[in-house]
């Protein structure tokens, strides 16, 4: 039976924590990028600039919230919500510590894949509804990227599923008690990481919003808090990607001495920092390069990984 009180408590904690984290990440990212470019980043508002997201929020709420007259209004307004809602919904299946999970469904990975694919629709539909050429080009690129990375994103995770023998994220974490899946599934980790970066539209795969060529790509026409929602969604999906990497390949909450929650948060923040570091380092790929790389290299690699892992699991069990 579902313990409603406990579920509500966990939900409220997760929601509050995640939204705080997403706004805090705006400051963290700008500060880290600043440090890595030998400058300071925002350090004026509050101690060390930590209240910068608050100032940004006040600015965004007081700015003119403009809907272009040529846009498809209903879809245009609805789109920013999709990315935030779907990403938040995915967090329902993320096990943070033993028992600390909103819904321990037995197909957690499938739910995650489904929801992250839905989040990609916000990019496509948002660019289409904006009805301007830069936004349209951005969503066009997002579509082209989507049909390539979604394939090997799912495939790369199947090796992990085969090893754990379950689609449930809790079972996968429990299966890593002895050995983290990063060791037997290193290839899977690399492929999933690349797919995840493309999924979150982060550098070096941020072609749908490439500032240098497409102004801001799919969210070029958005202003005010609708633009802010896209940003919150992006930071939420970075957190989600880091959390999923930790759960699937780095043993989730397992770790010595420290309590499980701390271990989980520590590992997740390391990956968030790594994603920001990658943004500060690597140049953006041309999107046809990414397409050929994913179809010609990553999908075959993911298939080989799946076949070899499946064979080994079969040989060990049989």
């Amino acid at each position: 039976m579902i313990d409603w009180g406990r579920t509500c408590l966990i939900t409220v904690t997760m929601l509050g924590g995640l939204l705080t984290l997403a706004s805090l990440l705006i400051w963290v990212e700008r500060r880290l990028l600043g440090i890595w470019q030998e400058r300071c980043g925002p350090n004026r508002v509050g101690p060390g600039g930590i209240l910068q997201p608050l100032a940004d929020m006040i600015k965004m709420f007081t700015k003119e919230d403009w809907i272009p007259p040529f846009a498809d209004k209903v879809v245009f307004v609805l789109t920013p919500a999709i990315v935030v809602v779907t990403t938040l919904m995915t967090f329902a299946v993320v096990p943070i510590a033993p028992g600390f999970i909103v819904a321990d469904v037995n197909v957690g990975i499938l739910f995650f894949l489904a929801m992250s694919s839905l989040a990609a629709y916000s990019v496509i539909v948002g660019g289409w509804a904006s009805n301007s050429k830069f936004a349209f080009l951005g969503s066009l690129r997002a579509t082209a990227q989507l049909i390539s990375y979604e394939v090997f994103m799912g495939l790369s995770l199947m090796g992990t599923v085969a090893l754990a023998g379950s689609f449930s994220l809790t079972d996968i974490v429990e299966a890593q008690r002895g050995l983290w899946f990063i060791v037997p599934q290193f290839l899977g980790f690399i492929i999933f990481f690349i797919a995840g970066l493309a999924e979150t539209h982060r550098a070096p795969f941020d072609v749908p919003e490439a500032e240098a060529e497409l102004v801001a790509g799919y969210h070029a026409e958005y202003s005010g808090m609708k633009f802010g929602m896209f940003f919150v969604g992006e930071y939420l999906s970075i957190t989600l990607l880091s959390a999923m990497i930790v759960i699937l390949f780095f043993g989730g909450w397992h770790g010595p001495v420290l309590p499980p929650v701390l271990w989980f948060l520590l590992k997740t923040s390391v990956f968030i920092a790594l994603i920001i570091l990658i943004r500060g380092t690597w140049p953006r790929l041309r999107f046809d390069q990414f397409l050929s790389f994913s179809w010609k290299v990553l999908i075959p690699l993911a298939l080989i990984n799946l076949v070899v892992t499946g064979g080994i699991v079969l040989a060990r069990n049989g």
Binding site: G34, I35, W36, C40, G280, T281
Partner: protein, 179 residues
């Protein structure tokens, strides 16, 4: 294998950027820390005085003529108290136009107009960017503490006749130059 070379380069790039975590930022925290401005830095324009405390500017209009953005406006007048000595009746620089090129300083024959190391000229109202003569005039001599135009130039003023300047011989009486 080219794949390994690429991978190594990518990871090397990450490492090089990550090392920046431990270096000091190059940023100058401006209002608290001030950047060093060299003495010849071209900033706010001032009008200087000679060592006697008189205005150096002789209102020759050369600065206004050379100014590429036409931001200098002045009008010449003669000082009734010190006979023959020219001075600007008004001298106006529109700093919202000024590009701080320093041509006025180069053109000035008397070292009157000078650019000093100061860039803090922000104003809330645009009209406040127009500096009048009393805003431009300083009490010191600026970069050339000993230079006094009227003491080296041959021009006649009230307390100095022709030939009275430094390194100058008395004027020759042309009517005595008989063959």
């Amino acid at each position: 294998m080219i794949v390994f070379a690429y991978t190594r380069d990518l990871l090397l790039g990450l490492w090089i950027v990550f090392k920046r975590t431990f270096t000091k930022p190059v940023t100058v925290q401006y209002p608290e820390e001030r950047p060093y401005l060299p003495p010849r830095w071209r900033g706010r324009i001032v009008l200087t005085r000679d060592p006697d405390g008189e205005e150096r500017c002789v209102a020759c209009h050369l600065c206004a003529a050379v100014c590429p953005v036409d931001c200098i406006a002045l009008q010449a007048a003669e000082d009734p108290t010190s006979y023959d000595r020219r001075y600007p009746e008004f001298f106006r620089i529109n700093f919202s136009r000024c590009i701080y090129c320093g041509y006025c300083e180069e053109a000035c024959p008397t070292y009157a107009i000078q650019l000093v190391p100061d860039f803090e000229q922000s104003e809330y109202a645009r009209r406040n960017m127009v500096y009048e003569k009393e805003d431009l005039l300083i009490s010191g001599t600026g970069k050339y503490p000993d230079y006094n135009f009227y003491r080296v130039a041959g021009v006649k003023i009230r307390d100095k006749d022709k030939g009275g300047a430094e390194n100058e011989r008395p004027p020759v009486d042309v009517k005595s130059l008989m063959p």
